[in-house]
Symmetry: C2
């Protein structure tokens, strides 16, 4: 299984899928079945692609980081499986979430199993010192992710928690891991400290762009395009960046409209429509979109000193522009 001959585009995806399969088994047990179901068909594979492209950007090869990249995807999907339990989301990637399909207890164990398969993959190959360094960076990011997820449960229904709070949560929940994926790929490929630090910053800014856009999608894209339930955030009374930007800019009447929705009790469809109207009126949607673009621009700026970073620059741009 070699990526050496593939160009820098996403032709690495089939190889990555084969590697993922290698780490979760063939479906011989309920655990493997549930893990396979959560992983396949895969999502965007953003984090493992970032890991591979970061290795290439410092002169390394995809082969050097393939198992590690697959491990990061397993750990990311494990967090989605658990997230869907927390948010009681019945739909993920256009089909039943693991919790919906297998039950809560089974999804909990599947998430744990995927997580441990992921750590096993992280530790599986490469020079010991580099592997340990890359794994430490990644595990630290996952600890930040848990902090972010917990903090998110605390601000439910709280419209006064303010923009910096949700930016911190995005940093912890999403950007820490995209940053680590890039830094780890670079470390495994033998990057200099300056290079892997720059790629960490790149990955974090890209992650912020990606997450800001993610929080916009319920208001800018159809459910059948995103594969998720667009009303989930309002149904969970989760104040996201566009909502808080709107709350900051809104007049008293619109503030009251948001407050009504976030007190709960409004049916999700109506809630979503009311919030969308306020987000549009206050310019919050376009403000958030500009913030995503700005993060993508900062991400690209980090690539200045790297030998071959065309693909990474493209990835940053598409993270901020994506419609799904």
């Amino acid at each position: 299984m070699s990526l050496a001959a593939t160009p820098t585009g996403d032709t690495s995806i089939p190889v990555l899928e084969a590697e993922l399969l290698r780490w979760v088994g063939s479906g011989d047990s309920l655990l493997e079945l549930a893990c396979l179901d959560a992983l396949f068909p895969p999502g965007k594979l953003l984090r493992p692609v970032l890991c591979i492209e970061s290795a290439k950007a410092v002169g390394g090869t995809a082969d050097q980081v393939l198992a590690f990249a697959a491990g990061i995807e397993c750990l990311h999907v494990a967090s989605l499986v658990h997230d869907d339990i927390i948010d009681q989301d019945p739909v993920r990637r256009g089909r039943a979430s693991t919790a919906e399909q297998y039950g809560l207890a089974e999804a909990l164990v599947a998430g744990d199993g995927l997580s441990m398969a992921g750590v096993a993959a992280l530790l599986s190959s490469g020079p010991a010192e580099r592997v340990l360094h890359a794994a430490r960076v990644t595990i630290e990011a996952l600890r930040h992710m848990c902090q972010g997820i917990m903090r998110e449960t605390e601000i439910r229904g709280d419209l006064t928690c303010a923009v910096p709070t949700v930016l911190n949560i995005m940093q912890a929940k999403t950007a820490a891991l995209t940053g680590a994926a890039c830094q780890a790929g670079a470390i495994l490929a033998g990057a200099t400290p300056q290079q892997h630090q720059a790629l960490r910053q790149y990955g974090q800014q890209l992650g912020m762009a990606f997450q800001i856009r993610d929080d916009l999608l319920p208001y800018t894209a159809e459910d059948q395009v995103t594969g998720k339930t667009g009303t989930s955030d309002v149904a969970n009374r989760q104040p996201t960046l566009p909502v808080l930007l709107a709350y900051e800019a809104a007049d008293e009447a619109d503030c009251n409209r948001l407050a009504t929705v976030f007190r709960g009790g409004t049916d999700p469809g109506t809630a979503h429509r009311d919030v969308l109207a306020v987000l549009t009126r206050t310019g919050a949607l376009s403000k958030a979109a500009r913030m995503a673009s700005s993060c993508a621009q900062q991400a690209r700026a980090e690539l200045a000193g790297l030998p071959d970073s065309t693909r990474l620059a493209e990835l940053a741009t598409s993270a901020a522009d994506r419609q799904r």
Copy 2:
């Protein structure tokens, strides 16, 4: 913080507790609070003690494995936090379980956070090659644990699943990690392959003895001694070893009594009393106790070639004899 001067007894416990604290933080966030609450006051600390004593048994020191041992405990407690969600157990170690106290979503994230703190601790110190080897062994055991926990959810209510099935589940859910704790401690201390393999076998047999005894406790000890709800297994219709031994040996009337309970619907108190009567009549309780003793004996036999294993021998004996 040094264990160098302590004897081989459990005087290492305060040092271990301090090390655990170092890995979960000081309680500055809800995540840290929930993790602290799950870890403290600690349980028996069996797995980290096994890790430390295994290092000592091959001529190493507690200091060499202290962080790793703390990491194993974090990972073990993470599995308990998730287990209590699965089993809907309101009580653990004599107080409210994390799920009961903080809520399901919060307990789920706390388990994930403890798990990642545990992995971070595993990877934190020691020569890179040894650390990687010890961590791989431990993560592999945790993957077995997930397989065991999932398999356990599948046999709920199934009295016909047979003794070998529950022995396999015990092996995966408990013995794999106690075996890995011992093997990893030995690896970190520079053991020969023969030594760390023997300690792995020792730890697995000890784990079997421990788990067989654990499944007996609901029928031999009071809740206030075990700190758990004795009716949990029957309430969850979980066929444990003593129940399956009884089902094998029971006459038709007793088989029917067990079948009635495991169909569900009996109130937990009555169910527990009915099952206890059958377990006693069929001799299943004493048969299981003999199996635990036999595992402990096999564990001790693995210690033959080791320079200093007195404490490990004692631990094996007490795993099979314990009343809590």
